[in-house]
């Protein structure tokens, strides 16, 4: 079945890579929400995950390792009518880009951050990443990783992030639903996606996750921050999936435009007739 977001670029991931599930779920979510490619901007960094935008027909900004979030924030600020998604791996978002992640939590830009969390550096062939388990053995750390894994969900909830969820790339349908919720959420939304690396992570495999993941049921109240924090700390034999925390608060764009009291940057001084006549489609 063809999809509006299909790209002609040949996919260069390993067969069986967990990234395929995320790609399918994201394309499905964008289609079901009725977006068209020109309304969507994907911003990525460097890594196997950061190659995903090449495989989607939409606007793409592929910049430097770790730097996707500031670019996404700026794109959204200049043109709030675009759907802006920053996506990359755990190394890019939580390691080299960790500082940007922290400050995005504070600012609450209306963007969605999708992190392909495979607990390993895949592109550089298998070193421990910021989310690798303590003791994880890699070629660069043959004695086992000495650091504790970062818990992105707890970190985000502790800083009152607007929307915090966890998905699993082995369950495309449910992941698609989580992505749809995040994309329609007003404010900063984080989806940490458990994504098995079939080549370099022989510990956290599809089977490993399948034995442990479960979905939060309807009785779960994601508005309760303390309960959400507790839930985010659950890891090991049982790993919760779904929307773990959500809390509406004013976005970065709300605050910026309330200060400058002008219309969005993109609409200042633009001759729409001229743009239309050149065949560019604008979205309102």
């Amino acid at each position: 079945m063809g999809n509006l977001f299909d790209s002609q670029v040949e996919i260069a991931w390993c067969p069986g890579c967990g990234n395929f599930g995320i790609l399918r779920a994201l394309k499905g979510a964008l289609t079901e929400l009725g977006f068209s490619p020109e309304e969507v901007v994907l911003v990525s960094g460097i890594g196997q995950a950061a190659k995903l935008p090449h495989y989607i027909a939409a606007n793409v900004f592929n910049g430097l390792h770790g730097r996707s979030i500031p670019v996404a924030l700026a794109v959204k600020t200049v043109n709030p009518r675009l759907l802006v998604i920053a996506e990359s791996g755990d190394g890019c978002m939580y390691g080299e880009g960790g500082n940007h992640f922290l400050h995005a939590l504070r600012r609450n830009p209306d963007i969605t951050v999708i992190v392909h969390n495979n607990q390993v550096y895949g592109l550089t062939k298998g070193q421990a990443s910021p989310t690798s388990e303590e003791g994880f053995v890699s070629k660069a750390q043959p004695w086992g990783n000495l650091s504790l894994p970062l818990n992105p969900l707890s970190l985000a909830i502790s800083q009152d992030a607007s929307f915090v969820a966890r998905g699993f790339s082995g369950d495309v349908d449910k992941l698609k639903e989580i992505i749809k919720e995040a994309l329609t959420w007003r404010g900063f939304s984080l989806i940490d996606v458990l994504q098995p690396c079939v080549t370099f992570n022989r510990v956290n495999t599809f089977a490993w996750y399948k034995e442990r993941v479960y979905y939060l049921d309807d009785s779960y109240q994601p508005e309760d921050r303390i309960k959400a924090l507790e839930k985010s700390l659950e890891w090991g034999d049982k790993i919760p999936l779904g929307v773990i925390y959500q809390h509406q608060r004013p976005t970065f764009q709300d605050k910026i435009y309330s200060q400058i009291e002008e219309e969005d940057l993109i609409y200042r001084g633009v001759n729409f007739d001229d743009l239309f006549s050149r065949g560019l489609r604008l979205f309102t």
């Binding site: 080299e96 550089t124 070193q127 070629k139 660069a140």
Partner: protein
């Protein structure tokens, strides 16, 4: 009888690092350097070195950790490439300004954008003014030899500066070659034991590194840094000779190939020098008097040696594998041309850009560059100072 092994450039440097046995190595993975650091990590894991190996979350942290460890009095090494080197930027200047003899292997790789993982010299050329010594390698053997020499040069009391030893990404770093290695004891004796100067860990003699330094003294400190790096040339030459006595492989600041009676020459860095030798042999067979000047030491720039080698020539083709956007020619061209301004006689000089982002260069390209240079000299006028090799236009 020297021991011969099959090593790619990354493995050769990792093996040199093993034999050097530094106190601290801090690094972050980046293609095409990763393989070198992983091999070193295996040596650490197998207990073959005493080094403390620190894996960090970015190259900025890697260089910061190296600076801390070197200031504490340790012998410190690291490795990176391209954007990793760029992310170290502000720390590179601090390492040099604090006179910390850190040795770093750089696999030369194009600097984004767009993203490209293959070889050119944009990364280290961008860092050429940071106060580091830059040694280029033609092959895996030289990467190994330069790494060992770099320790001795950097730690010399007349130098005390950080050094980057470069090798062309993938071309050298990932190609297996014949490499002669020294015995561990020979390397250990050659580099000697390290004694940190003004170490932070000397609790009886507390020192301060990096306090604020404004218009009152900053300028004088920079002046002393200029003198420090200028004074390195005789040390690099001396260490090259001593290494020759040990290994049979003599090293100088630069190396001429069939230059003695040459009328035309190419000047190049890194692996392209190997390609150029082929081109020169081929043109020599056709009766052309051509040669090569290989620049091993790019910083400090060995001005007098360059004048001596190039001034007698009629024409020179300078090959640049990086661009100084908006400048008059590439980094190597501007240095060579500037050095020759005061030469007893001035050859005509043409700049050829080539190989950006890993584009291959062939002996025929270099033959073409030399032939064009000869045409220019015979025409008596340079119409075009800047030209390109292997480019679609």
């Amino acid at each position: 009888m020297a021991k011969v092994v099959g090593f790619n450039g990354n493995a050769a440097v990792a093996y040199a690092m093993k034999q050097i046995n530094p106190d601290v190595v801090a690094a972050y993975p980046i293609t095409p350097q990763t393989d070198c650091v992983e091999r070193f990590a295996e040596y650490v894991s197998e207990g073959l070195v005493d080094s403390e190996f620190i894996t960090v979350e970015s190259e900025h942290s890697a260089m910061s950790a190296c600076i801390g460890a070197a200031a504490a009095g340790g012998r410190v090494m690291t490795a990176t490439a391209a954007n990793g080197l760029a992310l170290m930027w502000e720390m590179l200047y601090i390492a040099a300004s604090m006179r910390l003899p850190i040795v770093m292997m750089v696999t030369n790789r194009a600097l984004s954008g767009n993203i490209n993982i293959h070889c050119d010299h944009a990364d280290t050329m961008g860092a050429r003014d940071a106060g580091w010594i830059h040694l280029f390698s033609e092959n895996a053997q030289e990467a190994y030899d330069n790494t060992i020499q770099a320790i001795k040069i950097a730690e010399d009391l007349g130098v005390r500066l950080p050094i980057m030893v470069t090798q062309d990404g993938f071309i050298i770093s990932h190609a297996v070659e014949r490499v002669e290695i020294l015995e561990d004891e020979e390397v250990k004796n050659f580099i000697g034991a390290y004694k940190g100067r003004y170490p932070l860990l000397d609790l009886n003699n507390p020192v301060t590194y990096g306090p604020i330094d404004l218009f009152d003294y900053y300028f004088e400190h920079k002046r002393s840094q200029i003198e420090a790096i200028d004074n390195c040339l005789p040390v690099i030459e001396r260490v090259g000779k001593e290494f020759g006595e040990l290994s049979g492989r003599n090293y100088e600041l630069l190396e001429g190939y069939r230059l003695e009676d040459a009328e035309y020459a190419v000047v190049a860095l890194g692996s392209t020098c190997g390609t150029a030798r082929e081109a020169i042999d081929s043109l020599r067979e056709k009766g052309k008097k051509v040669g090569l000047l290989k620049m091993r030491c790019f910083r400090p720039f060995p001005r007098e040696s360059v004048i001596e080698a190039l001034s007698p020539l009629k024409g020179i083709a300078v090959l640049d594998r990086s661009v100084s956007f908006g400048g008059f020619g590439g980094p190597l061209f501007t240095e060579v041309r500037s050095a020759l301004y005061d030469a007893p006689s001035r050859p005509s000089i043409i700049n050829f850009f080539y190989g950006l982002g890993g584009r291959d260069i062939y002996p025929e390209d270099i033959e073409k560059a030399l032939e064009k240079t000869e045409e220019v000299v015979k025409a008596g006028k340079i119409e075009q100072h800047i030209d390109y090799l292997g480019l679609r236009e």
